[in-house]
């Protein structure tokens, strides 16, 4: 019995340490590579850094790397939460309509201004509005339409609004910006942004991870949750509040980055099993490494920068396919 828990735990800690080491190495590599190269040894020992080196490292690369880490962690964790909550392994972080709402908000901002703060602010507000709308619809009248279905309806609604804005947008100046925003990018994140959002996102990651075991209870469905002594409506409300904050922050700063919230939780479950108290923790470390890798590739592997949302799709879709195949064998 003691042996059981210790071998289980050893596996968990191993799966924790490996991505942490991977992430540290990747951070150093990512700091060094790019159009402007900085010697990795100089970064490691903080020696011989010119003022240009420092400017590139601190003002350009550091915020971007931190954003990739935080956003990758957050998207993976929220994906895992929704999959558990809705008893459905195929839902993503955007299931409640947050990305469509935020996309619409950002498009409104882009159409009427080029102030980045306004664009981010509108994305944030409309992302939240979309989720509130989803929650309201699903509770309409005595009939309770499921949250997943309502999220789909609200998402489609905002997609249509967004299509309309794209249709009327100036095709030479505004439309490209909207399209680029929707494909997701970490290139506009500044150190100031990071200073504000990093503590919030870290706090949210920790708090949500604490609910991992409770998520197991929720995944049995409402009726069984009640007979196991849990108030499923209350717990869902708490978790939806936290994860909506998480995903809306990510979307309003980075646009729509798909697939991360799907493939990382699945990979983690494949490695450690299905207990969400482990999945929600490991998703943080695997997700951050994954998105940092993708973002580093997106700005170094090709002559021009490829939007990160495109790369996650190109890598994510086949990867997911392989993962599902392996699980069925």
């Amino acid at each position: 019995m003691g042996k059981f828990s210790s071998t289980q735990n050893r596996k968990f800690y191993l799966l924790l340490i490996v991505p942490v080491i991977f992430n540290i190495v990747l951070i150093l590599v990512s700091m060094s590579v790019g159009r402007y190269k900085v010697d990795i040894k100089n970064i490691l020992f903080l020696k011989n850094l010119t003022s240009i080196d420092r400017a590139v490292l601190i003002d350009v690369r550091l915020p971007r790397i931190m954003a990739a880490i935080l956003f990758g962690a957050t998207l993976s964790q929220t994906g895992a939460v929704y999959q558990g909550m809705f008893n459905n392994p195929l839902v993503s972080s955007y299931i409640l309509g947050v990305s469509s709402g935020a996309g619409f908000g950002a498009a409104v901002g882009i159409l009427f201004s080029s102030n980045i703060l306004l664009i981010e602010g509108l994305a944030f507000i409309f992302g939240i509005i979309a989720v509130i709308l989803t929650l309201t619809i699903s509770r309409a009248k005595s009939e309770s339409i499921s949250l997943v279905l309502s999220g789909f309806v609200v998402g489609s609604l905002f997609q249509s609004f967004l299509s309309f804005l794209k249709y009327v947008a100036d095709p030479y100046t505004k439309l490209p910006s909207i399209v680029f925003w929707l494909m997701g990018s970490l290139s506009q994140i500044t150190l100031k942004d990071i200073v504000i959002i990093a503590p919030i996102l870290v706090l949210l990651l920790v708090v949500v991870a604490l609910f991992g075991w409770k998520l197991n209870i929720l995944s049995f469905g409402d009726e069984e949750a009640v007979s196991l002594g849990e108030n499923p409506r209350l717990l869902k409300r708490v978790l939806i509040f936290l994860t909506t904050l998480q995903s809306v922050i990510v979307v309003s700063f980075a646009g729509v980055i798909g697939w991360v919230g799907l493939i990382i939780p699945h990979t983690v479950r494949f490695l450690v099993g299905y207990d969400n108290s482990k999945v929600l923790v490991l998703s943080i470390f695997f997700g951050s490494g994954f998105l940092l890798l993708i973002d580093t590739l997106s700005r170094t592997a090709f002559p021009v920068e490829i939007p990160i949302g495109i790369l996650t799709g190109i890598i994510g879709a086949p990867f997911f396919f392989v993962l599902i195949r392996r699980r069925h064998n």
Partner: protein
Amino acid sequence: MIKISNLQFGYFDTEVLKGLNIEVKEDEILVLLGPNGSGKTTLLKILSKILKPKFGEVSILGKDINKYSISELARIVASVPQIHKQTFPYTVLDIVLSGRNPQLETLKPSKKDLEVALKVLEELSILHLKDRPYTNISGGELRLVLIARALAQEAKILLLDEPTAFLDFKNSNLILNKIIELRDKRHITFIITLHDPNEALRIGDRVALLKKGEIVDIGKPFEVINEKNLRKVYNIDVERVEIDGKVFIYAK
């Protein structure tokens, strides 16, 4: 232990329970017997606060069920559902451990909770399954795992909804014997729905015969399960035989 008086319930506009009066005593095995759709599952769901009574009263240990919080009630009443949908392949141990939920002091089970779960698995002789994904075990084993989860709640009252459905001859007997054993050893009060009158005769201390949300008869199994009552409820003719002082029943 449990007192149900004039309990009425309906989904939307259809009346399902039409004024039930039942009292369940401590250490008793009460069997609910009745045709499909007679309201057995609905009654059990009310007793575990999944559904709310429309009218009438339910009191458990002398306290109105509406006055219990969900977790407070789950420390007294545990249940095994008629249908359990498996989505994620949790391990058997994870499933049984989830029964500790109402007893938790933090957001996660402790070492002590793990010990309780392992003890229950051992008690039901399924400890060897603990690391298996619970989606890869047999139907009988799954039923035992779900019973183990309910036992891990350490509740005084256990509600079992068709615990022998889908089980083969050996496994259904295994479960019935376990129920009797648990009642004798742990002094658990059971409310069990069954479809086979012979099973009801075998394990019930009392039987409540239901039809369309009403109690046709309630009392000692061999008194309730008779030709007249079964014709009234199922509309079929049955014959009773007695062998070695035990009553058996079969359809003609």
